[in-house]
């Protein structure tokens, strides 16, 4: 009796995450069916942030390298997509892959000096990258459009017979799943494609962390010297992690460019890098679900809660967010996932105590 009960409950507990995952999947798939096209588009904007935060989490949470420059990599992905689409009109998803490749290379280039530069110095070098990126965009504003921005467009005749640059859009296929209204169907289709890309990214990262390579990555975070002694190729693993992390940020940037059909230098500032960091830490590190939770938290705060504030409270919004962040870090330095894990551990401990109590009953 006493020996079989923990095993049983362990088996039951193994199912809990799977059921939760299935529930999340169902909700994610069902959302655009119930939401208006405005809300569908709004939650679509959260997906790129979640993917980029996933990349940052891999680097910071699992590998222990702090980057304050992922906003720049996000921007590299966005501009890669914008320039490719305007020049060569590639299919959307191919440009996402191309952006990932470009950012992987950029990540490796940044990662190489990171072999020598460690800890907070690395954070500061990535910070410099984040602040330099908008300046580079300005220097080459003939190509990038500078702060006026660059629309991702196709030339089309408008209804008045004037040739205009029309923003790219996602042409929805004929599926019963999608709405009959063309504009709404386009929003839904875009959401599903984004969701799929994000799901693939999350799955790949999950497999990576659970693999042999992933264990090396984590070992480096916990103790670099020890990892090296036990045969991990630290240099290769760190550069590889930086590259993958950058590629994910690039995918996020690419998706965001596809979503907005526009890029401009004012977007990819230090603020974006800090937002990504906030998403990662608020969600909880290291964890796979954390970045998604963090991105949803930020999106929910800015797009759902903030507009509901009464007019005279609105100027206080950044103050409220600031206080919220401080309080959250005071209450749960491990983020939302950390809070959940703590709760779980406490429940497990209580269960263990009650079980020992039972087993001690003669």
């Amino acid at each position: 009796m006493t020996s079989s009960s923990p095993a049983k409950s362990l088996g039951a507990r193994r199912w809990v995450p799977l059921i939760a995952l299935a529930a999340v999947a169902v909700v994610c798939l069902a959302l655009p069916q119930v939401l208006s096209s405005y809300w569908t588009d709004t939650i679509t904007t959260w997906i790129p942030l979640a993917v980029a935060a996933l990349g940052l989490n891999l680097l910071t949470g699992y590998n222990g390298q702090i980057s304050v420059g992922h906003g720049a990599l996000f921007g590299v992905g966005a501009y890669t997509t914008a320039l490719i689409l305007n020049e060569w009109h590639w299919p959307f998803l191919v440009t996402v892959v191309a952006s990932a490749v470009v950012c992987f290379v950029a990540g490796v280039v940044i990662g190489l000096p990171a072999l020598r530069i460690k800890g907070l110095y690395l954070a500061l070098v990535t910070l410099a990258v984040a602040t330099l990126f908008p300046q580079i965009l300005e220097q080459f504003s003939d190509t990038t459009g500078g702060s006026a921005g660059l629309g991702i467009t196709n030339r089309e005749l408008n209804r008045r017979g004037v040739m205009t640059d029309r923003s790219i859009r996602f042409e929805p296929p004929d599926l019963a799943l999608l709405s009959a209204d063309d504009a709404k169907a386009s929003s839904q289709w875009r959401y599903y494609i984004f969701l799929l890309v994000a799901a693939i990214c999350f799955l790949l990262v999950r497999n990576l962390v659970n693999s042999r390579a992933g264990r090396s990555i984590i070992a480096i975070r916990d103790n670099e010297t020890a990892a090296e002694v036990s045969g991990v190729n630290v240099a290769a693993a760190k550069v590889f992690t930086f590259g993958i992390s950058a590629a994910l940020a690039g995918i996020g940037g690419s998706l965001s460019a596809l979503e907005l059909a526009r890029v401009s230098s004012g977007t990819f500032t230090l603020v974006l890098s800090l937002n990504l960091l906030v998403a990662v830490v608020v969600g909880g590190t290291p964890s796979i679900a954390g970045p998604a939770i963090g991105a949803v938290f930020l999106g929910f705060f800015t797009n759902v809660i903030t507009p509901e504030f009464p007019e005279d409270v609105k100027p206080l919004t950044p103050l409220i967010l600031g206080v919220l962040l401080v309080v959250l870090m005071l209450a749960a330095p491990g983020g939302i996932v950390g809070m959940y894990r703590q709760l779980q551990a406490r429940l497990a401990a209580r269960r263990a105590i009650s079980q020992t109590a039972i087993s001690q009953v003669p």
Partner: protein, 294 residues
């Protein structure tokens, strides 16, 4: 040559401000072991206090000291109420970074709430006239900034090398637990560090504000340049902050005037130098090498 001198002193004057803010960052890093993203916003807040006092008729010198006092109090309160409760930055670096980002947002919004969004004027501490150096007019304000930086450097050196509290701060920086065991009031030392950092932020702000205007974004760009400065100099070194600050100032104000490629990327020369320096010396020019234990 004349142009060069004029660019050089503009660069040195700006660099002195980056160095001042950098000194604050170094104090906080050395005492608490974290990068404070809110450093610039705290300095901005203290500068608004300077402006309020100056606007009410106080001479600017006195107003600056008032702002420094206000900044000191703010720093102490922030440490006690916000930073300390989060815990040891060495244990939870990310949580502490997010806390400083939270403070960044908070101080910015609070300043706008108290003082409004419109730009305010702060006069030059050293007036509007200049002095002739090699046939070029150099503003007293720029030389004044350098002089004030030099005074700060001397005070810092005296404080850290010649006083008990300086000794205590150095002890806390190298090993907080042993310091506590030795009877050093660690918390009070850290409070003092935060207060000091914000107080010199008020000085940095007093020199930044006349260049543009007193507003809630006063220090946001300056902070970035200050970060570049301490990365270059080594962020546990006061000398590093000063040399780094002046170097970044000169590089970003002089080089783009001669090299077209850098025209719109004033930070690029400094950044290239940072990369080169860190690849050769990963702890910055004046930083201390860390020995890690397995």
């Amino acid at each position: 040559m004349e142009e060069f001198i004029s660019y050089l002193f503009i660069g040195l004057g700006n660099g002195a401000v980056y160095a001042m803010l950098g000194l604050g960052l170094v104090v906080i890093y050395r005492s608490t072991g974290l990068l404070n993203f809110a450093q610039g916003e705290m300095a901005m807040f203290a500068t608004f206090i300077v402006w309020t006092l100056a606007d009410s008729g106080l001479p600017l010198w006195l107003a600056m000291f008032g702002g420094m006092f206000g900044g000191f109090v703010i720093g102490v309160v922030v440490h006690q109420v916000v930073v300390r409760p989060v815990g040891d930055p060495h244990q939870k670096p990310l949580a502490v970074v997010i806390v400083t980002i939270g403070m960044f947002l908070g101080f910015n919004a609070l300043a706008k709430l108290i003082w409004g969004a419109d730009d305010k004027t702060l006069l030059n501490l050293f007036g509007r006239s200049g002095i002739d150096i090699f046939g070029t007019e150099v503003a007293w304000q720029k030389l004044g900034a350098l002089a004030v930086l030099a005074i700060e450097a001397v005070i810092f050196w005296m404080l850290f090398q010649r006083t008990k509290i300086g000794l205590a701060m150095r002890a806390v920086a190298s090993n907080p637990e042993s310091s506590a065991l030795c009877g050093i009031p660690v918390t009070r030392v850290l409070m003092f560090g935060w207060g000091l950092a914000t107080a010199i932020g008020a000085v940095a702000g007093t020199f930044t504000a006349p260049i543009t205007a007193v507003s809630s974004n006063l220090m946001q760009l300056t902070l970035i340049y200050a970060f570049a400065a301490i990365t270059l100099g080594g962020f546990d070194s006061f000398v590093g902050a000063i040399v780094g600050g002046l170097l970044v100032g000169v590089l970003s104000d002089v080089l783009p005037r001669y090299v077209d490629f850098f025209e719109k990327m004033p930070l690029a020369p400094a950044f290239i130098l940072i990369l080169v320096v860190l690849l050769v010396r990963p702890e910055g020019i004046f930083g201390q090498r860390k020995v890690s234990r397995v």
